[in-house]
């Protein structure tokens, strides 16, 4: 009995020693200061509940490029969200494991911290709830969060990062979702020529300036503000995806006026995110502008901007050239580099 008591006391002693140690070695994991560019919209309200930290972001980036997230270990988040293409993949529709074709075009994932809606249909309002979707979708990674955790749980580098980020080595679904979101919150693109012109560090060429002026007249009511999207959902008469699972925003809201409406995409880094449209209908910016000029598909809920204008947005060839020149000033080449 005495022996046991002695043992217990010894353990208690060791334990208290340990806890003192860990306090002494408390990890410094500073919050990252998100440098919010001038005139950007407010942060998504959920960012304040999951503020990026140094190790959280490092962990998120590592998870983002880990192929063990897919059932056959062939695909990571970064397989489709490729940085040099402004985190898109140059494919009409995303390609998952075994070459499975997804429903929609891979969206760029810059400036997500400032977005109110995620995905083409705005199905998600909080970034932390998004990573589960590709993990479990048959046409994407076709895995499950516990399968992923099973594969990475013994990885020493992960244990280290989870400890540094969250205080202990436990790998949980929530921690995975949070760290991926933290990494994504830091992907801010605001150093294009357009931004530099705004900061009066440089100036537009003549063609870019003309393009900017046409843009203000004909495009900026939807591609509004510093994100170049007003984050509304609109049916602008693009060719329809006939996949029976596609209904645009309507499959989320159940509102028929949202049928085949999609989120107005940002135009930042648009030079690198071809093909364009919810399922990559257009291979070039020119072909998008030609389509507007020729006339779009009619629909009951066709956006008033087109409905009231004979389903068209007439543009001369010169205007198209200038518009494209302007759109290329939204390219942020530093953002595309590691």
């Amino acid at each position: 009995m005495k022996k046991i008591l002695g043992f217990v006391i010894a353990i208690l002693f060791l334990t208290s020693c340990n806890s003192e140690d860990s306090e002494m070695l408390a990890i410094d994991n500073p919050e990252i200061d998100l440098k919010i560019p001038a005139d950007f919209p407010e942060l998504n309200a959920f960012v304040s509940q999951n503020k990026p930290t140094q190790y959280g972001v490092e962990l998120g980036e590592k998870l983002f490029s880990d192929k063990r997230f897919s059932a056959d270990n062939t695909i990571s988040c970064s397989s489709c969200h490729i940085q040099e293409n402004a985190f898109t993949d140059q494919k009409t529709q995303a390609v998952g494991i075994e070459g499975r074709i997804g429903l929609r075009n891979t969206p760029s994932i810059q400036n997500l911290a400032f977005m109110k809606f995620y995905n083409w249909d705005g199905s998600k309002l909080q970034l932390e709830t998004q990573p589960l979707v590709p993990i479990i979708t048959h046409e994407e990674m076709d895995s499950s969060i516990l399968e992923v955790i099973g594969k990475i749980k013994d990885d020493a580098s992960y244990k280290d990062l989870f400890r540094k980020t969250f205080g202990d080595e436990n790998i949980t679904p929530d921690r995975i979702y949070k760290s991926i979101a933290q990494f994504e919150y830091t992907l801010i693109s605001a150093n294009s020529k357009y931004d530099k012109v705004k900061r009066k560090e440089t100036s537009f060429s003549e063609s870019e300036l003309k393009g900017y002026q046409i843009f203000q007249q004909k495009c900026a009511s939807c591609h509004a503000g510093e994100l170049f999207t007003d984050q509304s959902f609109r049916n602008i008469g693009f060719p329809l995806n006939t996949d029976t699972n596609e209904a645009g925003r309507a499959r989320v809201t159940g509102v028929s006026s949202d049928f085949m409406s999609f989120r107005v995409p940002t135009l930042r880094n648009i030079e690198y995110t071809a093909p364009y449209g919810s399922f990559g209908q257009f291979s070039t910016l020119k072909s998008v502008l030609d389509y507007f000029d020729d006339g779009v598909l009619d629909a009951d809920n066709l956006d008033p901007i087109f409905k009231g204008n004979g389903k068209k947005m007439p543009l001369t060839e010169e205007e198209k050239i200038n518009l494209i020149a302007f759109m290329k000033t939204l390219s942020d080449t530093e953002f595309l580099k590691k």
Binding site: L132, T244, R251, V252, S256
Partner: protein
């Protein structure tokens, strides 16, 4: 040591009590079996492919012939109501223990056994068609068994894009030329009840009066529940005509029934929550 003896004695005594009560003619609890009979009107449905001659055919109020090749739905949030009005919840916060997928292709799934239901006389049953928003998150850690059952390849009751479960999944054929029909329902709500920030709540709470009281005690009653899928197209709330295509009003394949058109099917199957709280369900018999 003296204490230990006391505890030992106490344990023996309580063991004695336990064994006494289980020998009793009036146990504290017993099973209740819910037996689902999926029908078109009064005929139990036989599934079949497009060319099947054995599949049960039905004709809607709008005159459309149809039959099913697949028929599944989720039951959760089960509550039994005593004759004094008290509600007895059955693992309502645990999908692993209190929810199930009824699958017409799997006979075993048609009988769902509620275990350890407190002995009492019950007059009513309530349950949900689908899953309440708060539990409908595809949380594999919280409900691993239900997640596995619903996600199995031969079940496919998940809406991955919406991070939620499918509440009903009906595949079949309609009209003389056997066009495909594919009715899937599920919730897309974001935020918390009742002030959802966006989306459609496809969960429906169903209340059914028992034909005779179910007496749980020395007997383990069976409650027979009919789910009349004639109501899918010819319901109390909506009379639906199926049409195929990719337009806003086409509803036979998943494009729009995941949205505006979907609610019409949901209201027909599970009731609209106000004037209709039974939907397609009714209790046909209680065996005590």
């Amino acid at each position: 040591m003296q204490n230990l003896k006391k505890y030992f004695l106490l344990s023996l005594v309580s063991l004695g009590f336990v064994s006494c009560s289980s020998d009793d003619n009036n146990p504290a609890a017993n099973n209740v079996t819910l037996e689902f009979n999926n029908t078109f009107k009064n005929t139990t449905i036989v599934l079949g492919n497009a060319a099947s001659t054995s599949a049960t055919a039905n004709t809607s109020a709008a005159g459309q012939a149809h039959h099913f090749s697949e028929l599944k739905y989720v039951i959760s949030n089960i509550r039994l109501v005593k004759d004094n009005g008290d509600e007895v919840p059955y693992s309502v916060n645990d999908l692993d223990k209190g929810a199930t997928v009824i699958d017409q292709a799997k006979t075993a799934s048609l009988s769902y056994v509620l275990s350890n239901v407190p002995s009492a006389t019950y007059k009513q049953i309530k349950f949900g068609l689908g899953i309440k928003a708060e539990q409908n998150t595809l949380d594999q850690v919280r409900f691993p068994n239900f997640y596995a059952a619903a996600g199995a390849n031969d079940t496919a009751m998940m809406w991955e894009w919406g991070s939620g479960y499918r509440f009903t999944k009906i595949e079949g054929f309609y009209d003389a030329d056997n066009k495909a029909m594919s009715i899937h329902t599920g919730s897309t709500v974001e935020g918390t009840a009742p002030n959802y920030t966006q989306g459609v709540n496809a969960y429906r709470d169903v209340t059914l009066n028992l034909t005779t009281n179910a007496v749980v005690g020395s007997t383990a009653p069976k409650i027979k529940i009919k789910a009349d899928f004639d109501k899918l197209l010819s319901g109390k709330t909506n009379t639906i005509t199926l049409s195929t295509g990719t337009g806003m009003n086409d509803n036979a394949t998943p494009n729009v029934h995941t949205a505006a058109q979907m609610v019409k099917f949901v209201d027909n199957l599970g009731g609209n929550g106000s004037s209709d709280i039974t939907g397609m369900f009714s209790v046909t018999a209680v065996e005590n």
